[in-house]
C-alpha cells in the first residue's frame, strides 16, 4: 500500500493544508495515514462505518493509508490499550498526534476534518 504520491493527491495541500501533513510533505517524506477502525462485532453501525470509511479512503486517500479493522469482541484487551470507549471509533495513529473519530462516519467532511485533511476553524464545532 505504500506510495509516495502523497502531495499530488492531497486535496488543497498547497494552500491551507493542515500542518502535520503539510510539514511532512514539505520534507518530502511519504505520509501514510495509519488508520484503525474499532468495531464490536458485525453490528449495523459498524458495517455502515466501514462502508463509509472505505468510500472516503478511496476518494481522498488513495494509496496513502493503511487500515486495520479491529473487532473488540475478539480482542477486548485492545479496548483498554487503545482507550476505546465509543463504537465505532476510527483512530488515526499516524501521523501524530492521535486523532479519534467516533460514529458511523456518515459525515464525510467531518471525517476529513477529523483526520486533519481539511482546514477547519473549530474542531469541536457541532
Amino acid at each position: 500500500m505504500r506510495t509516495s504520491k502523497t502531495k499530488a493527491q492531497s486535496p488543497k495541500s498547497n494552500s491551507a493544508a493542515p500542518q502535520s501533513v503539510a510539514s511532512a510533505s514539505a520534507k518530502g517524506a511519504a505520509v501514510i495515514l495509519e488508520l484503525r477502525l474499532y468495531v464490536a462485532g458485525q453490528t449495523p453501525k459498524s458495517l455502515i462505518a466501514l462502508r463509509n470509511l472505505k468510500k472516503i479512503c478511496d476518494e481522498h486517500l488513495q494509496g496513502r493509508y493503511r487500515l486495520h479493522v479491529i473487532d473488540l469482541v475478539k480482542t477486548p484487551q485492545l479496548a483498554q490499550d487503545d482507550q476505546i470507549l465509543a463504537i465505532p471509533t476510527l483512530v488515526r495513529n499516524l501521523p501524530q498526534p492521535i486523532r479519534k473519530i467516533i460514529g458511523d462516519l456518515s459525515d464525510t467532511q467531518r471525517v476529513l476534518v477529523g483526520l486533519n485533511l481539511r482546514p477547519q476553524a473549530n474542531p469541536r464545532e457541532s
Partner: protein, 561 residues
C-alpha cells in the same frame, strides 16, 4: 436483602451489613468529599477481607495516580493487581482529540468492563467518576440511554457497584445519575466550621433496607475511611448496679457511701483552679489501685505535668503508667476536628480496653457549635456505655454566671454531675463541692468544702448559717467561736451546780435542826404525860388510903371514883 460488606469501619453498622449486593450504589458529593476513598476502600476491603475481586474503572485519574493516592491508606493496589484481586482500567477521555461523525454508542465501555470482570472473576465494580463521559461526548441522549443500559448490565451480572458522582446544583448529582440508580444513594459532605473541617455521610436512600438517616460524621485517616455510627439507633444499654469508688472516701459517702455506678457517666464541672483535675486524678488512681485500666485523655496538660502536679496531693500516677494500667494521651484540642478526636478515643478504647475513661477537659473541644459537641458526646457516651466503661468528663465553666445554664447541653447526657465551686470570702478563696445530680441513687444534697492537702483530698462539712457557707479560715474562726462558747457554757453550768449544792447543804442542815427540835418536843410531851400518869397514880393511891382510913365500903369507892 443480601448485602455486600464494605469493610469500612462503622458503615456496615449504619447500613445493617453494607451495600446492596449485586446492585449499583451512587456515592455523591462535592470535590474532595471522599467519594473516591470510599469507593477504593470498598474495593480493596472486598478484595482483601471478603474475597471479592474488584474492577476499578477510573475516568479522571490514571491507575498510577490512584495507586499513589491510596498508598497513604496502606493500600497496595499493584500487589492486588498482581494477585488478580484487582483490575485497574483508566478510561481516558480527551474531548479535543475526538470528532463525532454520526451515530455511535459506548459499547467499548461494556467490552472493557466485561473483559475486566472476566479476567479476575470480579464481584465488585467501581466507576470513578462515570459522569466524566458527559464531558467527552456531545450526544447526551445517547449517553443517557447507554448509562441506563450500563446499570441494567451491572445488575444482570450481579456486580456490586459503586458509582461516584459530583454533586450538582440543587440535585444530588450533576447529571442526574441518581435517576438511574434506585437502590442506594449515599451523599458525602465536607464542610468547614470555625476553621475545622467536618466530613459527613448520609444515606439518602437504601431501597429495601432499614438504615440510619442521620448525617454521620466520618473521617479519612491513615487507616482509611471510618464512619462513626456510634449513636446506635436504639437506646438499650446494659445497666449495672455495680458501683465504683470515686477514689475519695468523702465523695463516696456523698454517693450513698458506694461511689458511681459502673458504666455511668460523670460530669465534673467547675471554674478554673477548683480542683477538677485533682478529682479526676483521684478517680484514675483508684481505678488503677483496683487493678483496672484507665484511659486519661488530657487536652490541656502533658502526661508529665499531670503526674508531677498530682504528686503534690499525694497521688503517684507514674507507677500506674509504668504498670500500663494508666494510659495517658495528651492532645491539642485544635489538632483535629471533633470526629478525629472521637475516633482516636475510640481506637484507644478498642486497643487499651479500659474500665474508666477520663477526658480532661471536654470544654476545649467545644467551639461555637454546641450541637456538634453534643452529638459527639452522645456518640462517645453510647459507645462507652455499651462497653460498661465509666466515663468522667471534666468541663471548665466560666467564672461568672450560672454554671448550671452553660452546660445544659452536656449535663443532660451525663448520669452524675459534680459541681466544684469557688467561694470567695474573707480575702480568701475556697473550694466547695456538691453533687448536683446522680441518677439512680440517694446522693447527698450537702455542700462540702473541698480541701486539697499533701495527703489527698478531703471533703469537710461546711458551716452553714444565715445563708452563708463558712469555709477556710472563716470556718476555722467559726469553730473557735463555737469552742469558746462551749467553755463559757461549761463554766456557767459548773457555777449553777455549785450554787445548788450549797443551797442543798444549807437546807439539809436546817432540816436537821428542825428534826431535832421536833424530837425534843416529842420527848417533852412524853415526859409530861408520864408525869401526869404518875400524879394520877399517886392520887388514886391517896384516895384508896383515905378510904381505908374512913372505912368506906368498896361500893362507895366506885361512886367516889
Amino acid at each position: 436483602m443480601k448485602k455486600a460488606p464494605t469493610g469500612i469501619a462503622g458503615f456496615d453498622e449504619v447500613t445493617g451489613g453494607g451495600l446492596p449486593a449485586g446492585r449499583p450504589t451512587i456515592v455523591c458529593g462535592g470535590p474532595g468529599c471522599g467519594k473516591t476513598m470510599f469507593a477504593m476502600e470498598f474495593l480493596v476491603r472486598g478484595a482483601t477481607d471478603f474475597n471479592e475481586p474488584g474492577v476499578l474503572m477510573t475516568f479522571e485519574e490514571t491507575g498510577e495516580e490512584m495507586t499513589r493516592n491510596v498508598e497513604s491508606l496502606g493500600f497496595n493496589l499493584q500487589t492486588l493487581v498482581g494477585k488478580k484481586k484487582l483490575f485497574l482500567d483508566y478510561v481516558r477521555i480527551e474531548p479535543s482529540e475526538i470528532q463525532e461523525t454520526g451515530e455511535y454508542d459506548l459499547e467499548g465501555l461494556f467490552i472493557r468492563l466485561q473483559h475486566a470482570v472476566d479476567s479476575i472473576g470480579a464481584k465488585r465494580v467501581v466507576l470513578d467518576t462515570l459522569e466524566a463521559v458527559f464531558s467527552g461526548f456531545a450526544n447526551e441522549g445517547m449517553l443517557r440511554a447507554e448509562i441506563r443500559r450500563l446499570f441494567r448490565w451491572l445488575k444482570d451480572r450481579k456486580l456490586t457497584t459503586v458509582v461516584t458522582a459530583e454533586r450538582g446544583e440543587g440535585a444530588l448529582t450533576r447529571h442526574g445519575l441518581e435517576e438511574y440508580v434506585s437502590d442506594c444513594v449515599i451523599s458525602l459532605d465536607h464542610r468547614v466550621n470555625d476553621q475545622i473541617s467536618t466530613r459527613r455521610m448520609r444515606i439518602v436512600k437504601y431501597r429495601g433496607s432499614a438504615h440510619g438517616t442521620d448525617e454521620y460524621p466520618f473521617l479519612i485517616d491513615n487507616k482509611g475511611f471510618s464512619v462513626l455510627p456510634l449513636s446506635g439507633i436504639h437506646l438499650d444499654h446494659k445497666v449495672s448496679a455495680e458501683r465504683v469508688s470515686s477514689g475519695m472516701k468523702d465523695l463516696d459517702v456523698m454517693l450513698e457511701g458506694k461511689g458511681f455506678f459502673k458504666g455511668s457517666s460523670v460530669l465534673v464541672s467547675g471554674t478554673s483552679g477548683s480542683g477538677k483535675s485533682t478529682l479526676a486524678a483521684h478517680f484514675a488512681n483508684q481505678t488503677c489501685v483496683n487493678g483496672k485500666r484507665a484511659l486519661y485523655v488530657a487536652f490541656e496538660e502533658s502526661a508529665a505535668q499531670v503526674t508531677r502536679n498530682m504528686r503534690s496531693v499525694g497521688i503517684d500516677l507514674g507507677r500506674h503508667i509504668r504498670k500500663n494500667l494508666l494510659h495517658f494521651c495528651a492532645w491539642r484540642p485544635t489538632q483535629h476536628g471533633l470526629e478525629m478526636h472521637l475516633l482516636r478515643i475510640h481506637d484507644l478504647v478498642e486497643k487499651f480496653n479500659p474500665a474508666v475513661v477520663i477526658i480532661d477537659p471536654i470544654t476545649n473541644l467545644i467551639s461555637a457549635n454546641i450541637h456538634e459537641v453534643h452529638g459527639m458526646l452522645m456518640r462517645l457516651l453510647d459507645f462507652l456505655k455499651e462497653r460498661q466503661i465509666t466515663a468522667m468528663f471534666v468541663t471548665l465553666t466560666a467564672n461568672q454566671g450560672a454554671e448550671e445554664q452553660t452546660e445544659v447541653g452536656i449535663s443532660s447526657l451525663t448520669d452524675t454531675w459534680i459541681l466544684l465551686r469557688d467561694v470567695e470570702l474573707n480575702g480568701e478563696r475556697n473550694r466547695c463541692l456538691y453533687v448536683l445530680k446522680s441518677r439512680g441513687m440517694a446522693h447527698s444534697n450537702q455542700i462540702r468544702e473541698f480541701v486539697l492537702s499533701r495527703n489527698g483530698v478531703r471533703l469537710l462539712p461546711a458551716y452553714i448559717g444565715a445563708g452563708t457557707v463558712y469555709t477556710g479560715s472563716a470556718r476555722l474562726a467559726q469553730e473557735a467561736r463555737e469552742r469558746a462558747a462551749a467553755v463559757v457554757e461549761e463554766q456557767h453550768l459548773e457555777n449553777q451546780r455549785k450554787q445548788i449544792s450549797r443551797k442543798r447543804q444549807l437546807l439539809e442542815s436546817q432540816i436537821a435542826v428542825l428534826r431535832s427540835e421536833l424530837l425534843e418536843g416529842h420527848a417533852a410531851f412524853e415526859r409530861l404525860s408520864q408525869q401526869q400518869k404518875k400524879r394520877q397514880g399517886l392520887l388514886a393511891e391517896e384516895h384508896a388510903a383515905m378510904g381505908k382510913i374512913r372505912g368506906l365500903s368498896s361500893a362507895d369507892k366506885a361512886v367516889t371514883s
